[in-house]
């Protein structure tokens, strides 16, 4: 698959139409227009990344799609059902911060959501076993999060999301705290998981190379209030891994993203009173 096919776009998995987020003003302060308008159609099984300057509303966009925040204006539809401030069934989220439960072992962390859903214990065991194998956590299944590195904890969180078999996976800078090599390797694993699960992925990231390597399409957002300046189709085949960074097309895409983003990043810095 090269990007989102025409057939899959005919019945998009999630649609955002004129989505806007305005935080009401409190204590005499003016309302804050954080996001929008955003128009986007995610194809089923697509890997879509969002890049943009700091504070442009990327995470707000993810939280709106997840149903964690209400939208102020516009319409959001996931699998033909409207979403507005309530988490719909079939969505999984991996956050940038460590979201593992410190009092639970790796195995119990992964099983947490399934147990909450009251799933049959045999099925829980089967899914957790599969996820532990898939994420390379076999050695650590009895360990507690405090005994793991940041990367391993993030794997636990990804595994906890995967066992729920979400149809739309939202990733909010999941590798933000990792070093470059680990990010590339985790990116490879993410691509493998994406292919194996067939889920639609929406990735929020700061890293242009990560977005360019992983995605079918990359949305470049403006400074706040964030809206899409351009959506770049990478044209990568579905079977890909981090070796794609060696291709000439990769530098071209990264360059194109940066060209779009540079001015916006400077605007965002100026708005924050920062200087280079």
């Amino acid at each position: 698959m090269a990007g989102a096919t025409a057939a899959s776009m005919a019945t998009p998995h999630a649609v955002l139409e004129g989505v806007t987020r305005i935080y009401p003003g409190t204590g005499g302060r003016a309302p804050l227009h954080a996001l929008g308008k955003i128009d986007l159609a995610l194809a089923r099984g697509e890997f879509f990344s969002v890049v943009g300057p700091s504070g442009c509303g990327k995470s707000t966009l993810l939280e709106i799609v997840a149903g964690l925040q209400p939208l102020s204006e516009g319409r959001l539809v996931f699998e033909d059902r409207p979403v507005n401030g309530q988490v719909p069934d079939g969505i999984g989220v991996v956050f940038q911060e460590d979201a593992s439960f410190p009092w639970l072992s790796v195995r119990d962390n992964i099983a947490f959501g399934l147990r909450h859903n009251g799933m049959d214990p045999a099925e829980i065991r089967r899914r957790v076993e599969f996820a532990i194998g898939l994420m390379g956590l076999r050695e650590f299944e009895g360990a507690y999060p405090a005994q793991l590195s940041g990367g391993m904890r993030q794997r636990v969180c990804i595994a906890r999301t995967l066992v729920l078999q979400p149809r739309l996976i939202l990733l909010d800078e999941p590798f933000g705290a990792l070093d470059q090599q680990t990010r590339l390797l985790m990116g490879d694993e993410l691509l493998r998981l994406w292919r194996e699960t067939g889920a639609t992925v929406l990735l929020i990231t700061h890293a242009l190379d990560e977005a360019a390597m992983l995605s079918d399409r990359v949305g470049v957002m403006s400074a706040r209030p964030g809206r899409f300046l351009e959506i770049v189709a990478t044209g990568w085949p579905r079977e890909r891994d981090s070796r794609i960074v060696e291709q000439t097309g990769f530098a071209e895409i990264t360059g194109r993203l940066w060209a779009r983003l540079r001015e916006e990043s400077m605007k965002a810095m100026a708005a924050d009173g920062r200087r280079l």
Binding site: I91, E97, F101, P102, A146, L164
Partner: protein
């Protein structure tokens, strides 16, 4: 046992040996203090006396009652204040300055209200312990990272499930700190109240022995209180250590 524990035991041992030597050598007069070995020797016959055991039981029941109420009321009050931030804003200054008020000054009032029985002692123990529970329960709930609450929302957990499966496990360690303080405060409250005006309990017996210059009863009872509170604290510490090892990998 780890080296630091040996060192701790050695410090206590040296201090006790020093007091023993000072007492035996006559530097500390028998009217002031009996030697530690004598305190232990005096404690054994006291503990085999049915009357003394009744006093010990009276104190322990009072402490347990005050503690139980403090835990339940303190935890519930902490939880209610957490979900009602406006009420919390009103109550917060009172909680933070609470221990500046000497609760014991209200003892006569409690005697008038509840009569000359064990209730005023329990009330004093409760009032000293309950705020430690409230403050630590609030502290525990405040510290739950927002990302865990977002995770609970993504997993479509309701308020009850989030409280039971996220808030409580995360806050356990902080609530436990409140519990440890509540144990200490309820002991202090009950025994001090027994000192002031009571006809039973370890505090009453210590006060009685003190007024009668009976060091062979007073000191063994002080040792008994130290032994009981040390035992309780060490049990709580051991549990906390196991919990901490799991949560922090330390």
């Amino acid at each position: 046992m780890r080296r630091v524990n040996w060192l701790r035991m050695a410090v206590i041992g040296v201090a006790v040996a020093l007091i023993e030597a000072l007492c035996r050598g006559g530097v500390i007069k028998p009217f002031t203090m009996t030697p530690p070995s004598q305190m232990l020797a005096d404690l054994l016959p006291l503990l085999s006396s049915a009357e003394m055991l009744q006093h010990v039981a009276e104190t322990l029941v009072n402490v347990a009652t005050a503690l139980l109420f403090a835990i339940v009321v303190g935890f519930l009050a902490g939880a209610v204040l957490f979900v009602l931030p406006r009420v919390r804003r009103v109550v917060d200054p009172l909680l933070s300055s609470y221990y500046a008020i000497p609760i014991f000054v209200f003892y006569p009032l409690f005697v008038v209200l509840f009569g000359l029985n064990r209730t005023p002692q329990i009330v004093i123990g409760f009032l000293l312990a309950v705020v430690a529970m409230i403050i630590n329960t609030l502290n525990g709930f405040d510290r739950v990272p927002p990302v865990l609450l977002k995770t609970a929302k993504v997993l479509r957990m309701g308020r009850v499930a989030t409280t039971r499966r996220v808030f409580l496990p995360y806050a356990t360690l902080y609530i436990f700190t409140g519990l440890k303080l509540a144990v200490a405060y309820s002991f202090i409250g009950v025994i001090a109240a027994e000192f002031i005006l009571s006809g039973a309990g370890i505090g009453y017996e210590i006060n009685f022995a003190y007024n009668n210059f009976d060091n062979h009863v007073m000191y063994p009872l002080i040792v008994l209180i130290i032994l009981i509170s040390t035992f309780i604290n060490m049990s709580l510490y051991a549990w906390e250590k196991r919990f901490l090892e799991r949560q922090t990998g330390r």
